[in-house]
Symmetry: C2
């Protein structure tokens, strides 16, 4: 697998565009289209939030059919908690995009991100979609990447090529964060393209499994958004023999490539978590099963006390064991061990004499690995998170006004 | 019910003391004893954290017997994650206190609060307990109240008298916060005394029910501590006819008094939440049952995005509905309504035109009521919480070092 240039349009026969439609107060890019010149298999996963936004409902219908041509996205307004008007607007976005692209409405996914509870300025949105549709190009990936951002401080994008069924396929993705990040079956917004040929059912399974190992393993603030969505379009332009099921010999290679993209983008979302100064990999091993390992790791990742301690570079490790203790996972306090970086802190439930200088050096780094060994099983899970800083409070105390 | 002076020793035949034993780096009071001159019924509830501290295990045994004479407490060190040494030290604290007080070891509860993962400096602790035991007095409630504090900025105490069974009884309590507050069956530390005569089984039920309506309805940061404990001693000195069961005619009057103390102290803990600038009462009504109302209210109370928005006085109400949406409670997005203060924001799932000036005034107040009407039932729950401020990050980034 080799990293390549070109972002979301690196796979063959994809184009994209991002334009400034005037939805964002900042005046930056806020409408994007990602387009496949030929029909593509589609799969998507969505937020489990009961207050799911209008575009989530509309895109769920499209993804259910298994074939799509385009994704239309706006930032600056989430079109969530907007009732019937929100549904009307989301459907209108689809129709305007479909008309401009000359494709069927049933082939266009729609996504929104931004402030909740405000209806879309549809005149601006419509003009933006039409302009984006007229500007589609291979180079347009840069604009599209910008147009899905909200409080993100950098765009998140990757592209790879990989051998597949005797030929070479490409896979690429873009994602945005940066707050309300605690995905449950999907993240904020992530779009993945590939020119691999794969049937919708196999694609759906691959996406589901990849998301469970990537976006569902991250948390910035424990808030599961109303608008989370991860979608993949696979247009088959690579010319590989169709991967028609998960038991096809080329499925593992495709899944490995998809997982690489999903994990990379999920980690990028955490690295750009609102106000983040640290990237924390919380691994819980020695657990009876994956679910309880994840449950314990997620409790640590969500703990404001743990997150502020890492911000302060304060090795207050008791808070980590405290969070494991209330996570609901089975714990034997006499068997638990804790390592930060390569410094063993707790062994078999007891604080040990450790090298304080070494620990201080690790706490000062940007990337820190925390490993809890439950000592009662063989399962393991890693959750990625960031710290809680003054900047997180500032960003979120001042976002609306 | 009438508020009275005198704190934890206002009930008859209770004494207390708090001394500076040198456990806290600050040099402030850090060892307390609360003592009943006559045997008292005892009940206590404890943290559900699987990493429960040594004193929790020891006090659970004492409380199980139903009779006690004293509580010995230290701050500055939680005696949690301290293994066998921690158990030995907790039992030693009990023995030292029992010997100094001339009571049986089986009659002394022990509690600790402070940093996790460090063993107690037992020489200092022992000297402190002996000095406290020698200084017990009715006036000692002030020292005791100080000695249980950690990052608290003010002591939390109340005392009331109330008519009971033809006589007058007294009930009083002290509590400490101020971080790692998301109690589950108890809060950090809370001690309640009463001179009412009540049997251990009825006392246990009353405490359990009162805690479920008070300490289990608050959250500062979502972290359930390793050391949470709420204990009550009832020594019967008021001379009322013994309340021998929950069906006794005087039980409701006693329960009401206990609930008043518990709710007052729970709210005080929230008001003094680390870095708190706001006191938020999150009410969810119109829910199918209490459990789902509490589930939804607690999700709002724990959301870092909601808490930072209130800190910023930013009426970003979409975050409140988002939290309700991911809480796991049953939600019908078309029926949900939201009121902040007396300003209706969302009606039947739709943002309504509201008085922005009025909302801005409410957001500027210290005490703010948030009411979510689910519109699908008749049950209601109120959770109390505080905002997330720069100060919370500062306090918790710098606590350890």
């Amino acid at each position: 697998m080799k990293a390549i240039d070109g972002g979301i349009t690196a796979p063959q026969r994809f184009k994209a565009a991002g334009v400034k439609a005037g939805i964002k107060k900042s005046g930056k890019e806020d409408v994007a289209i990602i387009y496949s010149e030929i029909p593509a298999a589609v799969a998507a996963v969505f937020t489990t939030n009961a207050m799911a936004a209008a575009p989530v409902h509309v895109s769920r219908e499209v993804a259910g059919r298994g074939l799509a041509r385009a994704v239309v996205v706006n930032s600056g307004c989430a079109n969530a908690c907007t009732g019937e008007q929100g549904m009307t607007d989301a459907r209108a976005m689809v129709k305007i995009a479909a008309d401009a692209l000359g494709v069927a409405e049933q082939e266009v996914l729609v996504a929104s991100t931004g402030i909740i509870g405000v209806t879309l300025p549809m005149a601006k949105v419509a003009a933006g979609i039409q302009r984006a549709a007229s500007m589609l190009s291979v180079e347009g990936y840069e604009g599209a990447m910008q147009a899905i951002m909200t409080t993100d401080t950098f765009p998140k994008s990757c592209a790879y090529e990989f051998p597949l069924g005797g030929t070479v396929a490409r896979i690429a993705g873009i994602a945005k964060g940066a707050g309300m990040i605690h995905p449950n079956m999907a993240t904020m917004l992530c779009f993945i393209t590939t020119d691999a040929a794969i049937a919708p059912a196999a694609l759906k399974q691959a996406l589901h499994d990849a998301v469970n190992l990537s976006f569902n393993m991250i948390s910035v603030d424990g808030d599961t958004s109303t608008n989370d969505m991860t979608a993949i379009l696979a247009n088959g332009a690579a010319g590989n023999a169709l991967i028609d099921s998960t038991s096809h010999p080329d499925y593992p290679a495709f899944f490995a490539a998809l997982k690489t993209v999903a994990v990379y983008l999920a980690q990028q979302v955490v690295r750009d978590g609102e106000g983040a100064t640290k990237f924390l990999a919380i691994t819980v091993k020695g657990a009876p099963d994956f679910a309880s390992a994840k449950q314990a790791a997620m409790a640590v990742a969500k703990s404001p006390l743990v997150k502020t301690a890492f911000f302060g570079q304060d090795p207050n490790w008791g808070r980590i064991l405290c969070a494991v203790g209330y996570s609901g996972a089975v714990v034997d306090p006499r068997k638990i061990s804790l390592t930060i970086g390569d410094v063993g802190i707790v062994k078999a439930g007891l604080g040990s004499c450790y090298d304080e200088q070494a620990l201080r050096r690790i706490m000062a780094e940007r990337d820190i690995a925390v490993t809890v060994d439950m000592g009662i099983g063989a399962a393991e899970a890693t959750v990625w998170t960031c710290d809680f800083s003054y900047e997180y409070v500032k960003i979120n105390g001042e976002y609306h006004t």
